[in-house]
C-alpha cells in the first residue's frame, strides 16, 4: 500500500515539490483519471492495465491545459501568491467535482472484472494482491523514471532552473510557461497512471479524490519538498506506519499514526526527510 501512496504522491511531488505550486485539486485529478479508465473499460472493454498509457497521455494534455488556462494566472499574482494558488486550485477542485457529478452522475462505479482484479500471489504465506503488486512496480518505475528525468535530462534541469530563477532562464531563452506546462502535464500523467491502477481495485465516484489528497500531501511533505526520492520514501513510510498503527490502536485511528509521524519528522527536520526547500 505504501508504494501506492507513493504512486499517487509522485505526480504531486513534481507539481507541488519541484515547481513549488500548491495544487489542492490533486485528488480531483486522480478522480478524473479513474473515471477515464473506467469509461475506457465500460465502452471499449480495454483493461485498465492497457489503458493506463492512454489515460496518462490524456491526463498529460489535461494537466497542461489546466496550467495554461488557470494556474499560469494564479502564479502571476504579485501578492499572496501562495494563498491565490491554494484557493484557485481549491475552487478548481470543487468545479471538477460538480462537473463529474453533472456528467458522470453520483453513482458509484467500479470495474468488476479485469486482468488483475481480485487475484493474489502468495509468497511464503504473505498474500500480495496483484493489483497492488503491479501498482508497486509501476510506482517504482515511475519514481525511477522521474528521478532520471529530473537529474539527467536537459529538460529536468530547465525545470529546476525555472523554479529557482524564472528571470535568469528567460535570458537563456527558456520559455517559463512551456517548461511549466510540460511539468504540469507530466505531473498529471503520473496521476493518470496512478488512477488507472487504482481503478482496478477501488470504487469511483465524484468525491473519491478527497480520501487520498491529504495522504498525498503528507507523503510529499514527509519526504521533503523538492526531492523525488523523498516522496518515494515518504510513501513507503506512510504505508508502514499505517499498517503498524492499525495493529496497535483501533483501526479507525490509524491515520493518527501517519499524522503523528509527519509532525515528529518535521519537528526534528523542518524540511522533511530529504527536502531541499
Amino acid at each position: 500500500m505504501g508504494l501506492l501512496y507513493g504512486l499517487i504522491a509522485v505526480g504531486l511531488a513534481l507539481i507541488f515539490g519541484l515547481m513549488d505550486v500548491t495544487n489542492f485539486a490533486h485528488g480531483e485529478f486522480l478522480m478524473i483519471a479513474m473515471y477515464a479508465s473506467f469509461f475506457l473499460f465500460a465502452f471499449f472493454a480495454i483493461d485498465p492495465l492497457l489503458s493506463a498509457p492512454l489515460v496518462a497521455a490524456a491526463m498529460f494534455v489535461f494537466g497542461a491545459v489546466v496550467y495554461l488556462l488557470i494556474v499560469r494566472f494564479a502564479m502571476r499574482a504579485k501578492a499572496n501568491a501562495g494563498m491565490v494558488q491554494i484557493f484557485t486550485t481549491f475552487g478548481l477542485a470543487i468545479v471538477m467535482r460538480g462537473l463529474a457529478q453533472l456528467f458522470f452522475t453520483p453513482d458509484y462505479r467500479s470495474i468488476p472484472q479485469s486482468w488483475l482484479g481480485g487475484k493474489t500471489v502468495s509468497i511464503a504465506g504473505i498474500f500480495l494482491p496483484e493489483p497492488q503488486l503491479v501498482g508497486a512496480l509501476v510506482s517504482i518505475a515511475a519514481f525511477a523514471g522521474l528521478y532520471f528525468f529530473i537529474h539527467r535530462t536537459d529538460f529536468g534541469r530547465a525545470l529546476e532552473a525555472t523554479r529557482e530563477d524564472p528571470g535568469a532562464v528567460a535570458l537563456v531563452g527558456i520559455d517559463k510557461n512551456r517548461v511549466f506546462a510540460f511539468g504540469w502535464g507530466l505531473g498529471a500523467a503520473l496521476v493518470g497512471l496512478a488512477g488507472a491502477i487504482m481503478a482496478v481495485f477501488f470504487y469511483i465516484y465524484p468525491d473519491v479524490g478527497a480520501s487520498f489528497a491529504l495522504i498525498a500531501y503528507v507523503t510529499v511533505a514527509l519526504g521533503g519538498f523538492g526531492s523525488v526520492f523523498g516522496a518515494f520514501a515518504g510513501g513507503i513510510i506512510v504505508g508502514l506506519v499505517e499498517a503498524v498503527t492499525a495493529l496497535m490502536l483501533p483501526p479507525s485511528l490509524k491515520s493518527v499514526g501517519i499524522y503523528a509521524v509527519y509532525l515528529l519528522v518535521v519537528f526534528i527536520r523542518p524540511r522533511g526527510l530529504f527536502g531541499s526547500m
Partner: protein, 414 residues
C-alpha cells in the same frame, strides 16, 4: 329593512359554511419537503430518493389501480383532490445545512411535513427544527435507534431501526444454529459514524445476551483509502460470521480487499446500507454469492402481492433501477405521510401530527413485508418486520423470517 339578530346569525352561519370551501380552494396543492444529500458523498442516494418520491406522488396524484392508500382517485380526497408537490433541499450530509434547509422548507416553501434524510446526524437537527415549528418529520430511511428516543412529539418512523434489524439477524442465527450451522463466533466491522456505532452497540448487546462470542470488533474510518490492515485483523480473528455495517464505498473496498487477502467467512450478515445498493453488487457481486443482508424490502413480495412488481416497474421506468432497501422505504414514507395529511383534512402541522399518531395501515396495503403501519408514543412503528435477503444467482432471495421466506438459506456461503 331592519337587521334582526336572526339575520346576523344566519349570515354568520352562511359565512362559516363558506369558509371551509374557501380554505379547500386554496389548498389545491399540498407541499411536502424532503431533505437529502444531493451533492457530495451521499448524492447517489439523494438522487434515487427523488425518483422514489416521484413514483409515489404519481400514484397519489393520478388515478391508479393499486391497493395502496390514496392510489385510486386523483390527489387527496380529504383536501378536495389537492395534489402533492415536493420541494427538495440539499443538505450535503451536514447537520447545520440540514437544519437551515429544514427551516427554509418550513418557513419559505410552507411545507406541511418534512421527509428525510439518509444520514442520521442530519436527521437529529432536522427533526429538532420540525419539532420547534410543529411540523411532522418522517424518517424515511434513518435507522439509528437513538433518533426516536429523544422525546420528540413530531418525529415518526415507519420503518424498522437497527435494533429491530439486529434482532432479526440474531433470530436468524439462532435458527441456523439449531439446524447445525457453525455460527458461534462473530466479527463486527463498522464505520465510525452514528450509523456504525449504533449498529455495533445493538449487535454487541444481542451477542452477549444470546451467547455468541465476538472475536473481533473493528471500527474503521468511513471512506478510508485502504482497508487492508482492518481486513488482516478480520482474517486473523477468523470468525464464523462477519457482520459489516458499511456504506457503499467502504463496502466495495471491504469485499475487494477480502478477496485479495483471501479471507472468506462462513457467512456475511450485513446491516444493509451499502450491502443493499445495486452499485455494490455491480462492482463486487461475483464475490458476494450467498451474502446475506437485512432489509426492509424484498422484490419476492411481488409473487404474493402483484402490485409490488408493478410499482417496481414504475420506479424502474424513472430511475433505471429496481426498488431497493432505501428507495422502497422512501416510497412508503411518501404514502404514509400523504395518508395522514388526507385524514387530517388540513395542512396544519398539529392536525397532521395527530393524524400521523392515529395512522393504521394494514401490511397488505404497503409494498413492504410489514405487519402494519402504526406508531407508538415515540413515533416508532414497531410492526415493521425486517427481512433477511440472500444474494443468490444475481438477485436477492428472501430467506427469513419463515412467513416471508421463499427459499432456504444457503450456508455456508460460496
Amino acid at each position: 329593512m331592519t337587521i334582526t339578530r336572526r339575520d346576523v346569525l344566519l349570515g354568520a352561519t352562511a359565512a362559516a359554511a363558506l369558509l371551509p370551501l374557501a380554505a379547500r380552494a386554496q389548498t389545491s396543492e399540498v407541499v411536502i419537503g424532503a431533505t437529502y444529500p444531493l451533492s457530495g458523498a451521499g448524492a447517489q442516494v439523494g438522487v434515487d430518493a427523488q425518483r422514489a418520491f416521484e413514483t409515489a406522488i404519481d400514484i397519489i396524484n393520478n388515478d391508479q389501480d393499486f391497493d395502496l392508500p390514496l392510489a385510486k382517485g386523483v390527489g387527496l380526497p380529504g383536501l378536495g383532490g389537492a395534489k402533492i408537490r415536493m420541494v427538495y433541499a440539499d443538505h450535503q450530509g451536514d447537520p447545520q445545512k440540514g437544519r437551515a434547509e429544514a427551516e427554509r422548507l418550513i418557513t419559505q416553501e410552507k411545507v406541511c411535513a418534512v421527509l428525510g434524510s439518509y444520514q442520521s446526524a442530519v436527521a437529529v437537527t432536522v427533526s429538532q427544527i420540525c419539532e420547534r415549528y410543529q411540523v411532522p418529520f418522517l424518517s424515511a430511511d434513518n435507522s439509528s435507534p437513538s433518533l426516536h428516543r429523544r422525546g420528540l412529539k413530531y418525529y415518526f418512523r415507519a420503518s424498522p431501526h437497527d435494533e429491530m434489524f439486529s434482532t432479526a439477524m440474531f433470530d436468524f442465527l439462532d435458527a441456523m444454529k439449531k439446524k447445525g450451522a457453525k455460527a458461534n463466533t462473530l466479527a463486527l466491522f463498522h464505520e465510525d459514524t452514528i450509523f456504525g456505532t449504533d449498529s455495533a452497540n445493538a449487535q454487541t448487546k444481542l451477542a452477549t445476551e444470546r451467547g455468541y462470542k465476538i472475536v473481533a470488533d473493528i471500527k474503521y474510518r468511513a471512506n478510508s483509502p485502504s482497508l487492508s490492515a482492518e481486513v488482516q485483523q478480520l482474517k486473523a480473528a477468523n470468525a464464523d460470521v462477519l457482520l459489516p455495517s458499511s456504506y457503499t464505498t467502504d463496502g466495495i473496498l471491504l469485499v475487494k480487499t477480502m478477496a485479495e487477502l483471501g479471507y472468506k467467512p462462513n457467512a456475511i450478515l450485513a446491516q444493509a446500507a451499502g450491502f443493499s445498493e445495486k452499485a455494490l453488487y455491480d462492482a463486487v457481486g461475483d464475490k458476494l454469492e450467498g451474502a446475506i443482508t437485512r432489509g426492509s424490502f424484498s422484490l419476492d413480495l411481488a409473487a404474493k402481492r402483484p402490485m409490488v412488481g408493478k410499482i417496481n416497474d414504475l420506479f424502474k421506468a424513472k430511475s433505471g433501477k429496481d426498488l431497493n432497501d432505501n428507495t422502497s422505504r422512501q416510497f412508503m414514507a411518501m404514502i404514509v405521510i400523504a395518508d395522514a395529511i388526507n385524514r387530517a383534512k388540513s395542512t396544519d402541522g398539529e392536525k397532521i401530527r395527530d393524524a400521523m399518531a392515529a395512522t393504521d395501515i394494514p401490511g397488505e396495503q404497503t409494498i413492504m413485508p410489514w405487519k402494519r403501519v402504526k406508531f407508538d408514543d415515540m413515533g416508532q412503528n414497531n410492526d415493521a418486520d425486517p427481512v433477511l435477503l440472500q444474494y443468490l444467482g444475481g438477485k436477492f432471495v428472501t430467506i427469513f423470517p419463515a412467513q416471508a421466506a421463499v427459499a432456504e438459506a444457503v450456508w455456508p456461503m460460496k
